[in-house]
């Protein structure tokens, strides 16, 4: 709470009197603090020289700083900004959302092709086809085979009776 009040005081002071002065003082304080307490401070350096754990930590932090510097120092092509700007402006000039096709695409509904539409009735069609096939087979094959078998059977029986009881009696039995 006390800190907050102090902070508010600083802010109000900054806005009231010389705006750059507080900033300058703050920067000086920070510089001074980092000089006395930062990694370059002599007492820190002395400790680091004799402490392997701190050496390791400091090296790791330095590595991050180095990596950040490496990223910052990699220059991009001079034309990159222009390239990016023109691509973005072109996109603004020609937004896809204002294209004539956009409304049609917005309202478009999926229309399945004939094959896909028929696919829904495939079981019914298969059932009907099976019935037709059974009927056809019954009509064309099985019934005629039954007739043929019956005729042939009668013929065999007639021959049997002829041989057993004579032609006259067999003729009477089978013709009636």
């Amino acid at each position: 709470m006390r800190l907050l009040t102090h902070r508010e005081k600083i802010d109000s002071c900054e806005s009231r009197s010389a705006p750059g002065r507080c900033g300058r003082i703050r920067r000086r304080l920070l510089d001074s603090a980092s000089h006395r307490l930062g990694p370059e401070a002599p007492w820190v350096q002395r400790h680091v020289a004799s402490c392997p754990r701190c050496q390791k930590r400091l090296a790791a932090l330095t590595k991050v700083d180095l990596a950040l510097s490496a990223i910052k120092s990699q220059p991009h092509q001079l034309g990159l900004l222009m390239q990016a700007n023109s691509a973005a402006v072109k996109m603004l000039n020609h937004p896809l959302r204002r294209e004539a096709q956009e409304r049609r695409l917005d309202e478009a509904k999926p229309e399945p092709c004939l094959m896909e539409r028929c696919l829904g009735h495939r079981y019914a069609v298969a059932n009907v086809a099976a019935c037709v096939a059974i009927l056809f087979l019954t009509k064309a094959g099985i019934f005629s085979s039954f007739d043929k078998a019956r005729t042939e059977g009668q013929e065999v029986m007639k021959n049997y009776y002829t041989s057993q009881v004579g032609e006259d009696l067999a003729g009477e039995v089978f013709e009636s």
Partner: protein
């Protein structure tokens, strides 16, 4: 740092800008005002020119279609936050692609990079890889402060936190990056 010696007017296609619809002029103004800083930040995050163009385009398209073409309250904040998020998405995508598609090639490259410890390119790539893994709040501070070169005050305002918190977040982010980068090397 942003190479202010370069005349930005030379990098601007005025004819194309004039063709922009009246209602979208403010976007072009924002582009002129913050474009260079954005491109620099995107370049530092992504390190690839094509990706920079893609991210830049995405940022301004999002700005143009924000709530029916309305201007955000603070355009700079919107642009930098959107740019950061877009860039991180692209970076993660690229890292995943690289990991899956060229695992063998990377395995060949790693030892070479390890040999030259101060190979700037390797260090930069390693940092990018680790920045992409940072938690959101820490990553945003690192991106805005170190890669976007915004002041702590601006970073704090963009993120809706105090300057002190922004400093703490940056410190934590650097510590985390240091641990990760060091761990990788030890392995």
């Amino acid at each position: 740092m942003f190479g202010k010696a370069v005349s930005y007017d030379l990098l601007w296609d005025s004819a194309a800008c004039e063709a922009v619809h009246e209602s979208q002029r403010w976007i072009v103004v924002a582009m002129q005002k913050y474009g260079h800083e954005l491109v620099t930040m995107l370049w530092r995050i992504l390190g690839n020119e094509q990706d920079v163009c893609d991210a830049y385009q995405t940022v301004f398209l999002r700005l143009a279609h924000l709530e029916g073409g309305q201007q955000p309250r603070w355009i700079k904040a919107y642009l930098f936050r959107t740019a950061g998020n877009t860039a991180i998405s692209i970076l993660r995508q690229r890292l995943a692609e690289r990991k899956t598609l060229s695992g063998m090639a990377q395995a060949d490259k790693e030892p070479q990079a390890m040999e030259g410890d101060f190979d700037a390119r390797y260090l930069a790539e390693s940092l990018r890889r680790h920045v992409a893994q940072l938690p959101d709040h820490l990553r945003s501070v690192i991106m805005l402060r170190d890669l976007g070169e915004l002041s702590y005050r601006e970073v704090a305002r963009i993120m809706g936190i105090s300057s002190g918190t922004a400093r703490v977040y940056r410190c934590k982010a650097v510590q985390l990056l240091a641990i990760w980068m060091n761990k990788k090397e030890e392995e």
